[in-house]
């Protein structure tokens, strides 16, 4: 399986992501420059975390108009697997590959900690290695992770199983106290209708080796391997 990790000016989780795929999953992986338009031969494109283009205008806005993101849109339209992590999630919403938008955290602060998330839909290429309802411990680190979508779209997404993961407590309870940023309905990650594009604020690539305190991110990354 061949992965591509997008590199925009200001991406900063690109190497972490690359290393986990190469050294933990033992799969082929390349960096792809944001000016690139040819992404033939890849099975999965990862848009990593960071502050692409300095978060200028809006987080993810400028990156969503680059040649690479244009190619990623075509790739996704043809059914290619795309996963956006943190800033990558913001880029996917700005590119309209995913519904909704990511607002500044409700409390106005940057949040950086380990967070529990619950797998709401395990019937996606990104969660098929998880149990439905499984609780994963995965770090978050963001200022703009407050997921927002209008009520009609939210209803449609819930009916389609597009709400993939929600913030929860250790026992899997979806509560206001367990919501780290004010996201509507504790949403931590969503997919498109076709289920081949997934965005989430938590960082599975930072939770892929037990020495780091949790390797629950592996459940997500290995799901992708099952899907090809």
């Amino acid at each position: 399986m061949k992965f591509g990790v997008a590199v925009y000016p200001g991406s900063n989780c690109d190497y972490d992501t690359y290393r986990v795929i190469r050294d933990v999953l033992n799969e082929e992986v390349n960096f792809i420059d944001y000016r690139e338009t040819n992404i033939k031969g890849y099975d999965c494109i990862i848009l990593p975390g960071g502050f692409s283009f300095g978060d200028y205008l809006r987080p993810g806005a400028l990156a969503s108009h680059t040649p690479l993101t244009g190619a990623v849109k075509d790739f996704a339209d043809k059914g290619g697997l795309v996963i956006g992590i943190c800033n990558g999630f913001q880029i996917l919403t700005e590119a309209h590959l995913l519904p909704g938008a990511l607002l500044p955290n409700a409390h106005g602060k940057f949040v950086c900690k380990h967070q529990y998330i619950k797998v709401e839909n395990n019937n996606t290429p990104f969660t098929n290695n998880c149990e439905k309802g499984q609780v994963l411990k995965i770090p978050i680190a963001h200022h703009d992770g407050n997921y927002f979508v209008d009520e009609d779209t939210l209803k449609e997404m819930e009916d389609n199983g597009q709400i993939v993961v929600r913030y929860c407590d250790k026992e899997g309870n979806i509560t206001d106290e367990a919501n780290p940023n004010g996201s509507i309905k504790n949403i931590a990650g969503v997919c498109n209708k076709e289920k081949n594009v997934f965005g989430l604020m938590p960082h599975p690539e930072r939770a892929a080796e037990s020495i780091l305190g949790t390797d629950d991110g592996i459940y997500i990354l290995k799901s992708i391997l099952n899907s090809i």
């Binding site: 205008l57 809006r58 806005a61 909704g100 607002l103 500044p104 409700a106 409390h107 106005g108 979508v149």
Partner: protein, 81 residues
Amino acid sequence: MLIKFYIKPRKGVLDPQGRAVAENLRSLGFENVKDVKVGKYIEVYVDETDREKAIEEAKEMAKKAIVNEIIEDYEFEIVED
């Protein structure tokens, strides 16, 4: 011509910056402050003399890049620079 974009959080969308600034103003004694919205002001200078064309272009710019209409409201005006 100069296109001036005024952008603010859409009605009903949480504005943590605005809320913090409102609290700050009240703490300074401005007790009549009801609400604050913190937005953005963007100037786009275009090489264009036809006002109608500039208006159309401004709308396109807003839609494609300047504004995210899911979370932001905007107005613009066009002036001679």
